[in-house]
């Protein structure tokens, strides 16, 4: 659907819900819990490269999900809690590119350094 300007979108589309909106219900979940919908979240993380390929996703908040969350939080400059805190859930449901963040198991999005500017400066100084 193309709209020539910002005011031409019909009001009906305002109420449209995104597939990922259900993830908002998972806010507050942490390791050890079993909650309906976590299996779908695991599929989300698999799609974007944070969980290795597997077809057996359960609703358990297991180590694989915790590890995926920690990597995701690092990549998106969030506090690395390993839990589904509000900030993380808000980031997860945000519209995004469909290209995976981690390709072939290699994550280079964020080296884990807290300040990319200092990283760049370090490189320049060499």
């Amino acid at each position: 659907h193309f709209f020539p300007n910002e005011t031409s979108i019909p009001p009906l589309l305002n109420s449209t819900q995104c597939n990922w909106d259900s993830f908002r219900n998972l806010s507050g979940c942490h390791a050890g819990e079993k909650v309906d919908g976590l299996s779908n979240l695991k599929k989300y993380f698999q799609y974007f490269g944070y969980i290795n390929n597997t077809s057996n996703f359960t609703d358990d908040f297991d180590e694989a999900l915790k590890s995926a969350l920690e990597t995701y939080q690092k990549n998106f400059n969030l506090n690395v809690t390993g839990e589904l805190d509000d900030f993380t859930v808000q980031q997860i449901v945000r519209p995004r590119c469909g290209v995976a963040d981690i390709v072939n198991g290699t994550s280079t999005m964020n080296s884990g350094k807290s300040n990319t500017s200092s990283t760049r400066f370090h490189t320049v100084s060499h």
Binding site: F2, F3, E6, T7, N19, F76, C97, G98, M109, T116
Partner: protein
């Protein structure tokens, strides 16, 4: 910035790239001009040039809007969620979700619709993938993976420029004026 595994890029013999639109989409000239502007942003900082062609089969880059499952194993998911995807060089496929409310011109940040997505912002990002850039953790960069609705972010950040110039070198005419800090224009609460 990041690169795809193996650092794929368009070969030295391919510095003048062509792009074509899926003829089935029947895109207007106004929509096509959005992509032209997006390509210009990358050609400004590199030796690469981009020329539109009507020959969809022979074009280096093939752009199309699709709904749901469109045959590449990466089905689109309807409104918001996944907005678009593109393949690393030299594949050239650039797909956008036809279900989105694509805003072609005007100030998307003033939209009252929480589904309004700025087409140029997404196009600039996906062209980065087509040229070999992966996602970046630098929030201000074009290659940051997510973009809220009602947000416009089209200016290359220094992180983007460094990445693309690592792959292709600099445009001799480039004066190095990429933004070094937040470059996006966004509305408050632009989240979907």
């Amino acid at each position: 910035y990041t690169l795809f595994p193996g650092e794929p890029r368009w070969p030295q013999s391919k510095r003048d790239l062509t792009y074509a639109f899926n003829p089935d989409n029947n895109l207007s000239d106004e929509v096509k001009s959005v992509f032209a502007r997006a390509f210009d942003r990358w050609s400004t900082v590199t030796p690469l040039t981009f020329t539109v062609t009507t020959s969809a089969n022979s074009a280096d880059i093939k752009i199309g809007f699709y709904n749901g499952d469109h045959g590449d194993g990466e089905p689109f998911d309807g409104v918001l969620g996944t907005l678009a995807h593109a393949f690393s060089p030299p594949n050239g496929r650039f797909h956008l979700d036809g279900a989105e409310s694509w805003v072609v011109s005007g100030d998307v940040t003033k939209s009252t619709s929480n589904t309004a997505v700025d087409l140029e912002s997404v196009a600039v990002h996906e062209i980065g993938h087509l040229l070999g850039l992966g996602h970046s953790s630098v929030v201000e960069s074009i290659m940051y993976p997510s973009i809220s609705s009602r947000t416009k972010k089209v200016e290359l950040a220094s992180d983007d420029v460094e990445g693309i110039q690592y792959l292709y070198g600099a445009n001799p005419s480039y004066n190095g004026s990429a933004t070094t800090s937040a470059s996006r224009e966004t509305s408050d609460g632009g989240e979907a």
